[in-house]
Amino acid sequence: MIRRQRLAAGLCALLAVLAAGLAFPAGAVADETTAHTPKVDLVIDVSGSMRTKDIDGTSRMAAAKQAFNEVLDATPEGVQLGIRTLGATYPGDDRKTGCKDTAQLYPVGPLDRTEAKTAVATLTPTGWTPIGPALLKAADDLDGGEGSKRIVLISDGEDTCAPLDPCEVARGIAAKGIGLTIDTLGLVPNTKMRAQLSCIAAATGGTYTSVEHADELTDKVNQLVDRAADPVVTPVATDGGDSCAKAPTLKSGLYTDHEEFGRQRWYRVDVRPGQELRASVSVAADRAMRPDYGLLLRAVTVHGREIVRGEAAGSGRTDMISTGLRYPKADSDDDRAPAETVCLQLTNSFTAASGVKTTPGLPVELTVDVVGGPSQADDVASFGLGRGWWLLGALVLFGFLAGLVWGWLSRWRVAVWRTN
């Protein structure tokens, strides 16, 4: 029965899809996709240390070049790929000049494989390792468009351009709310470099990988470029208020924001009678934190009464902490009943580890869904159906008793009828 209904529903859906496919010509789709094209910028370290021959017997540079050639061949259609170098041109000892040494080798755009490969072939290990400045420039390269953006940083040494901490640079880039992810790869890394590169990756929700062999490098970069090609929802940047009165009103959707340590963020959502508000929030731990933390999301009325809350607490290494709540608003008989403004209050109890900057705030991801129809009591249990041997026993017992009573009643009635 259900199977048949589902089959019918499936057929209807199939027809609808076919109809939709006919109704919307392919041209309309193409326009939409250019704005959402994923962009990847490969940032490669061309510092002097890349000459070291310790990856499968060849130099790090040779391994990187080989990997790049294979990645360029395998780049999926529709991904805009660019290449940026750091430390490629200035061989001198002047730190100031060396730390500005980053250049765009191949601009982010539609990929011409031959041209890109020729450009890669010209690289020779030369100068310093200015990771921070290179990341800033790479973020500029990727500016514009609404698609996913990804920087893949390949380096064989830690940043040589202190005091500009590349971790803080990465956090600053993430704070712009342009949905950029930085993935880092360390060639034959030492502990200090691991710590720095994984810190950069953690700041933007990216990944860090150690590379010891050439094929690992190729596989990982390919995987990252492919990941960029997957369609994702781009969140909308919003700016929560300090109090409910100053909070922005949100509709259903995905939002990003920043929340400073020890501060509150407020948002407002309008919920009409008969609708259900669903809100979930994640706060990312994008820097070194003390090991215990928590998150609280409260839905309160404009008068400050708490309706419902979502809480989470955790301990240990984490990328984020998240919680959510739902608030079904009862249906109203009056069709023109006004929407209720629900205030969402967000607080977190993260503490930055000592010596870690507390600005910019922690990245917040907020999902708001206002769906039709609150919870209805209409499943089988509420029809009064039951189950179990006790139910069967009770029914049999009561049926038997009813039969007995009925039998006696009718005997008594016959007897009365006979005597009269």
Binding site: R317, R326, D369, R387
Partner: protein
């Protein structure tokens, strides 16, 4: 009297007919169609070979399929799967560790469609491995998914579930080493015993409102390649919630009650004609 006999016969036939069906479905397993993973679905070519790195990018997996991913120690790996009413999902994860490593602690966490952490009833959710161990196996048996719960409760509800797999305690020197992860979600059908008084208007699938809004706004061309927060759905769609083995139990109960009623009635009558009748008649 004749009517009762006919009725009794009819009920008896009904009871006999319903009996085997009940024996099949009443004890525990009244599989709603489509929700049981078919044996052929295991390890199919379509099982995903990568994992997401956040809730937003979580890789969708179907129940009963083994998803694999190559990753690095320290990565946070995310998958999402749909879980429907009356099912009790079990998440199993295996991580293949590199040859040399220090002691590490791995953990699998499950979150519901509202990104609330869900408790595991049983299973080794967190495990610490000794240096040099080849692999670590984690498991999490969730609570049974209920059709409805109060908004103040944290009960599992039908919708999208997220799995996060990560090393929660790892030395810096071990970060970035290649690991292989395998994740498999299966669920046991609990069925009628888990039925509750109510139902959600829509399953807890994040982004469901935004998606329907985009469709009604006539932006359907955008969803040609839908970048949805979550598009998971059990094969065969979300259950409508009206089927449960409670129908079978109640029907059998009613039939047995009717039979018992007839039995009770017959008992008051004795067998054959009442013995007093002839003497009274003369």
């Amino acid at each position: 009297m004749r009517i009762t006999r006919v009725l009794g016969a009819a009920l008896l036939t009904l009871g006999l007919a319903a009996g085997p069906a009940a024996a099949d479905s009443s004890p525990s397993d009244s599989s709603p169609p489509g929700s049981t993973p078919s044996p052929s679905a295991s390890d199919g070519a379509s099982a995903p070979t990568s994992a997401g790195t956040s809730f937003r990018t979580a890789t969708e997996i179907a129940q009963g399929k083994t998803a694999t991913a190559s990753a690095s120690t320290g990565d946070y790996l995310y998958w999402s799967f749909p879980a429907d009413v009356g099912r009790r999902p079990t998440v199993r994860a295996t991580v293949k560790l590199p040859r040399s490593h220090a002691a590490q602690t791995w953990q699998v966490d499950v979150y519901d469609g509202l990104r609330r952490r869900q408790a595991c009833q049983y299973g080794a959710q967190t495990r610490t491995v000794e240096p040099g161990t080849g692999s670590v196996e984690l498991a999490c048996v969730l609570r049974t998914v209920r059709a409805w719960s109060q908004p103040w409760a944290n009960d599992p509800l039908p919708g999208t579930y997220y799995v996060r797999l990560t090393a929660v305690d790892v030395r810096t020197a071990d970060l970035g080493q290649p690991v292989g992860a395998r994740v498999r979600v299966e669920s046991k059908d609990i069925g009628g015993p888990a039925a509750v008084d109510g139902r959600l208007a829509k399953p807890l699938v994040p982004g469901v409102a935004a998606r329907t809004q985009a469709e009604t706004d006539g932006k359907s061309e955008q969803s040609a390649e839908p970048a949805a927060l979550s598009g998971t759905e059990p094969d065969g769609g979300w259950s409508s919630g009206w089927w449960s083995d409670r129908w079978v139990w109640t029907a059998i109960g009613a039939a047995l009650a009717a039979l018992a009623g007839i039995g009770g009635y017959a008992l008051t009558r004795g067998s054959g004609r009442p013995s007093r009748m002839p003497s009274q008649g003369s």
